[in-house]
């Protein structure tokens, strides 16, 4: 346990917002989180800002607009897990007694089209080796071999998450979709069709963290239940897996290299003193439909090879035993890299407080958020109430 509680959360919806800047969205989310936490100017001693495409001093620009500077402001880039990395740094500083209240936020405005990543060398782009969806497609094809995942399963992941997203006012797509529509969308990289891939987009999310010792023993009247940060873990890759999110140019003929997600999830469960069987609700990386199923296996929601069966059982849909991506996931929300991990945390805090309306997971007490991407970086956060 980290000894840290969530004092407030805030969000700018995910989507495309013409004329709204990265700073504007950050201001919106931070203002909402500070308001909810009852924290004003001078009420936090450090800020960590996740962003990948925001550019120099993204966090400073947001807090300058709010008239709240002077404290350390640290911009954190960890690809899709940037927000998770920011959260880990903030929780660590609080647990060490360095601060009593810390602001964590992420804000992003992604370029349109296939993501261009400065990760790749120019020659890799020139040779056609920097096509991000093609790496997703190779992972999906291997998942078909190891776990019996078919295109129908992939379509069902999209159908499930879009159904969840239909009741999320912060999602980019709030409309259900049929399996036929998914499979009729054009093939981007076999076996992945367009609607099986999330849309890079724009948005922001913010969380105020507070050391538990400084919080009242029981929440004041009228306020929602306390949500505790039970673990916030970031891990990178080990070498050897050719399909790792580190996107290497080669790997070993060894399928036993643990993934960064497995490393992070294992450490997070240990830190929280909990296991997969304790979870009530999960938000996981669904950059593409196959990625959600890979996450089931890597986090330990099912045994290796069991993801297709877990999906088909209905357990991971709303109303099932362990709903996954009740927010609609990235497939409904879209993916603003620096904000996506904290967007999951905002959703899960609201789930644990019982504030999610039609997409509420009844009685949820233990929640897990997972992001993974280039680097490789994998972030796993566990929240409890």
């Amino acid at each position: 346990m980290t000894g840290v509680v969530i004092a407030g959360v805030g969000m700018h919806p995910f989507g495309r917002f013409e004329g709204v800047t990265t700073t504007d969205m950050g201001v919106h989310a931070v203002r909402a989180a500070l308001h909810e936490a009852g924290v004003a100017r001078g009420g936090f001693q450090a800020a960590f800002c996740g962003t990948a495409y925001g550019g120099v001093a993204t966090g400073h620009k947001v807090l300058s607009r709010l008239g709240m500077t002077g404290m350390p402001i640290v911009d954190v880039e960890a690809g899709c897990a940037s927000g998770g990395a920011a959260l880990m740094l903030a929780a660590g500083a609080l647990a060490a007694g360095q601060y009593d209240t810390v602001l964590v936020f992420g804000t992003e405005k992604m370029p349109r089209g296939i993501i261009r990543s400065s990760f790749f060398d120019p020659w890799q782009e020139e040779a056609g080796l920097a096509a991000t969806p093609s790496f997703f497609a190779l992972r999906a094809q291997r998942l078909a071999v190891t776990s019996g995942v078919t295109k129908d399963h992939l379509a069902q992941v999209v159908v499930k998450n879009r159904r969840h997203g239909a009741s999320n006012p912060d999602a980019m797509f709030q409309k259900e979709i049929t399996p036929e529509e998914v499979l009729a969308s054009r093939v981007i990289c076999e076996p992945l069709h367009l609607f099986m891939l999330c849309s890079p987009n724009e948005g922001a999310a913010a969380v105020v963290l507070r050391r538990q010792a400084d919080s009242p023993g029981s929440p004041p009247p009228r306020s929602p239940p306390h949500v505790t940060l039970a673990a916030a873990v970031l891990r990178s890759h080990l070498p050897g897996s050719v399909l790792s999110e580190s996107t290497p140019m080669s790997g070993l003929t060894d399928d036993a290299v643990p993934s960064p997600t497995t490393l992070a999830a294992t450490a997070a469960f240990e830190e929280a003193g909990l296991g997969p069987a304790d979870l009530d609700v999960v938000e996981c990386q669904d950059t593409d439909a196959a990625r959600e199923l890979i996450s089931y296996e890597e986090i330990g929601l099912c045994a290796p090879g069991g993801s297709a069966a877990l999906l088909a059982s209905g357990d991971t849909a709303l109303g099932g035993r362990l709903p996954v991506n009740p927010s609609g996931g990235l497939l409904s929300k879209g993916e603003p890299l620096g904000a996506s991990a904290l967007g999951q945390v905002v959703e899960l805090v609201r789930q644990l407080r019982g504030q999610c309306g039609d997409r509420q997971v009844d009685g949820a007490r233990v929640a897990l958020s997972h992001t993974v991407g280039r680097g490789a970086n994998a972030g796993v956060v566990i929240l409890t109430r």
Binding site: R116, E125, E126, A131, S134, Q141, E190
Partner: protein, 132 residues
């Protein structure tokens, strides 16, 4: 004239090869060449030329031009296992996924990507379906 998309990755002779390295401590092979083994951090792996044929492990096709790419689409993209115990990410000359099968033999080729400003063919490594 032909110009390599990047020097130091492959040879462009009659029988092309990929330029890798092998760790003297743990025996692992690397591609491209490393100056430190990523698996055990031992320095100065020995340079080796990797086998020019292997078997297909995973594949797809890219149907939209990715950022910075000026060549033709669609093109094949996949992973080939070489006998040294290494899996290589590479372009494939076959761009129809239905025409490929798991475990089929693949051979190294040097292929043209596009012409540069001086009219030279920019070439890179790729794998093509090989003789069984």
């Amino acid at each position: 004239m032909r110009t390599m998309v990047q020097p130091g990755l492959f040879t462009d002779g009659e029988v092309p090869t990929l330029l890798g390295s092998r760790c003297t401590a743990c025996g692992a092979h690397h591609f491209p060449r490393h100056d430190t083994c990523p698996y055990c951090a031992t320095e100065d792996p020995v340079p080796v030329e990797l086998a020019g044929s292997g078997t297909l492990w995973a594949w797809t096709a890219v149907t939209s031009p990715p950022p910075g790419y000026q060549g033709e689409i669609p093109y094949g993209f996949g992973i080939v296992e070489l006998p040294e115990g290494i899996r290589i990410i590479a372009r494939l000359t076959e761009s129809d996924p239905a025409a490929l099968a798991a475990g089929q033999p693949m051979e190294l080729r040097i292929v043209a990507l596009h012409a540069d400003a001086e009219g030279n063919d920019v070439v890179t490594y790729a794998f093509a379906p090989g003789a069984p």
